[in-house]
Amino acid sequence: MKISAYEQVKIARSNERPTSLQYINELFDGFIPLAGDRKYGEDKAIEGGIAFFDNIPCTVIGLEKGSDTSDRISRNFGSAHPEGYRKSLRLMKQAEKFRRPVICFVDTAGAFCGIAAEERGQGQAIAENLMEMMTLKTPVLSILIGEGGSGGALALAIADEVWMIENSVYSVISPEGCASILWKDPLKVELAAESLGLTAHDLIGFGIIDKIIPLDFTVLKNEIAGFLTGSSELDANDIVSRRYARYRKF
């Protein structure tokens, strides 16, 4: 049976799906979380640090929705403030300095919309990530594991390759937002989800993502091993020019 686009959105948002921290702990060994943006604060909506993939040190960063209610609240349900994006950029620059590959896990309804987020420059924080990630001289892989909500997801998804776990979604706006803004009709979410082309199958057809991976840690682990081997042979300047070419074509 074919699942409708909006059904996929609901699956992608489900609390039953593994979150970034679960991916990090299943795929890597010895995760060491590193906190803070060194400018303002620590944002628990983004987890990041160093972990080992078959003894290779990697920088891992993930938008984290949390595991139970109090954890979810402390992580603002995975909607980051500017300090979260600035922390992720700090960790990526650190990865570049020590030539560690960066692996990002994306799962967010979107960057947080609120007074504090605006005061501290949400737009500027995301913009800086996009610009700096484009020329980061180290391999970057981004994996959408659940919800990929607009600019807040893109800020961790400027990568050499972008993959989606089956039944995750990636969209410029939520179907609810689209239905209410365009048609002033919240009941049109189904049509909005269908029209936005937000499923993994739509996006691989457009070349916006490179791979769809089943929700299976063993399969994903093999794929990551392949990515790391492949990129270890590339010169840093080649990595950067290929990354720009990947986005230039849109």
Partner: protein, 289 residues
């Protein structure tokens, strides 16, 4: 008006011309200056002579409110006379998703703005300094960024790299254009890459943010300038004020997300009045020439 006919049937004439006075009602048309000579300000609501507004480059003479400008008008008051050459007029397929109603929206946007897309790019001199100039058109689907918008801006930055020129961008945008789905989100990535390579080449980029600029444009090239300035009162934000109010379920304070507010938070270099903009831009181009 009194004329020959007035005397043929004075009662009828009187009734027609004095009725309003007699019954104390407001006449339908006042013997006043024609409508098109007045402009009323959306901010202070006071009327001003249209010529006075035009003389101030579309600024209210009474309260200083900056009216939104069309891209063409903006180019007229920014580029040295006759120097602007429009480039990158490319228009590719936009409705890749066959999004419901998008084709019609594009047609009405073209009719409303007289433009083919939400940005006009080209080359010109400003105060004698050669520069690449991109100006967004707020009347074209609220200046939203689709793939043609992103492509034009990217080409402009790429040409600036190959010609070793500075870039000035006037931003005005509601953000990514949702009718193009993820293709519009990718424009944020693409334009940011183009800005970054321009920056790595040691070239100067001035971003001028005008009313209103939100969403995907704020979260990409608008906030990526070496110098970022804005016009007084311009709304600048990531999330729009309505979305924030709905999310946090409270009213936003007066002046929240205004250019002056964003300046006070440290995200702008200056708020510059429209009449001083050309001088400011010229000085910046001179400093980086």
């Amino acid at each position: 008006m009194l004329n020959k006919d007035s005397f043929k049937n004075p009662e009828l004439w009187l009734e027609k011309h004095n009725k309003n006075k007699l019954v104390g009602e407001r006449p339908e048309t006042l013997p006043s200056i024609p409508e098109e000579l007045w402009r009323s300000c959306p901010a202070c609501r006071k009327p001003s002579l249209a010529d006075a507004v035009t003389d101030l480059l579309e600024v209210c003479p009474q309260c200083g409110h900056h009216f939104n400008l069309s891209a063409r008008k903006r180019i007229d008051i920014t580029a040295d006379e006759g120097s602007f050459i429009e480039l990158f007029t490319v228009v590719g397929e936009r409705d890749v998703l066959k999004f419901p109603g998008y084709k019609d929206k594009l047609e009405s946007a073209k009719a409303a703005s007289g433009e083919e897309e939400s940005v006009i790019c080209g080359k010109c001199t400003i105060g004698g300094y050669e520069t690449v100039l991109c100006v967004m058109e707020p009347a074209f689907m609220m200046g939203s960024m689709g793939r043609v918008t992103g492509e034009r801006i990217t080409m402009a930055f790429e040409m600036a790299v190959s010609s070793e020129l500075p870039v000035v961008v006037f931003c005005a945008s509601g953000g990514a254009r949702m009718q193009e789905g993820m293709f519009s989100l990718m424009q944020m990535a693409k334009t940011s890459g183009a800005v970054k390579f321009h920056s790595l080449a040691g070239l100067f980029y001035l971003s001028v943010i005008t009313n209103p600029t939100t969403g995907g444009v704020t979260a990409s090239f608008a906030m990526e300038g070496d110098v970022i300035i804005a016009e007084p009162g311009a709304l600048i934000g990531f999330a729009g004020p309505r979305v924030i109010e709905q999310t946090i379920r409270q009213k936003l304070p007066e002046g929240f997300q205004s250019a002056e507010f964003v300046l006070s938070k440290g995200f702008l270099d200056a708020v510059v009045q429209r009449k001083r903009l050309k001088t400011f831009i010229t000085s910046m181009l001179k400093a980086h020439s």
